[in-house]
Symmetry: C2
Subunit: 160 residues, 2 copies
Amino acid sequence: MNALMPLGMVSDVPSENQIITMSDASTMSDEGHPAEKTDYFVERDGMKYAGTHLLIDIWGAERLDDPAHIDARLRAAAIATGATILHSHFHHFSPNGGVSGVVVLAESHISIHTWPERDFAALDIFVCGDCDPHRAIPVIQAAFSPTRIDLDEQRRGRVA
Amino acid sequence: MNALMPLGMVSDVPSENQIITMSDASTMSDEGHPAEKTDYFVERDGMKYAGTHLLIDIWGAERLDDPAHIDARLRAAAIATGATILHSHFHHFSPNGGVSGVVVLAESHISIHTWPERDFAALDIFVCGDCDPHRAIPVIQAAFSPTRIDLDEQRRGRVA
């Protein structure tokens, strides 16, 4: 991550747009208009909320300047949570510099921003529905071999 | 946001890749190899950290099913913080359904996930360097006219 000297090298890692077929036509009326609105908030542990947002700071981490590796491993992390990948984009700031990237999911997103000069990266994983963001942690550990992980969990859109 | 019935309608809102020229060649040695690594962490209020991450839940909000509006206003929000936009991607889940999107910045990212059926959206703004994420709030208020905003601020990568 490099706010002061951003060299515009968008990584060649291909983005992948996954077209999802509509699996439940019952929410459309006969005229093709949306019928009654469905409530997509989740209910768990006596709480009702929109989704779970993990903020993950990793320290002493490796391979933080390798956009192809980061893209592949974050995709694997997304799949481990049970999510569906819609799009990804990674930006490499300079040779051997930081990487910024996002994976847009049908269930929200995963992002990463790396500071290789400090062996540090900030990730977040936001998923709704039945996905479990904690299942991404072993994938992240294996990918970057951090010596420390700081984890913060937020339940977004909590209504009860 | 719609985890259970994702209709694959990637919005037609154009993504924009902004090529940034290298403004400081002093970090490259004569041979074109990176010279001494620079530390891009920021120091403010007696703290040293990677960047500021705002988690913003908005309620009673409008226009949450309009990807073109959301794209335009999040770009304006990014610019208000002082950030440089590298890429954006928005996904519209179904006619009148939720929108998921991200704006990748030279200074990290902005994301949004909307649940129009609850007039709710979850945003986050992560910026490093001299950018001020709080400057995005008035832009978000004007864009979506929420009746309530819940704000959580995290300093990512805090070392002191």
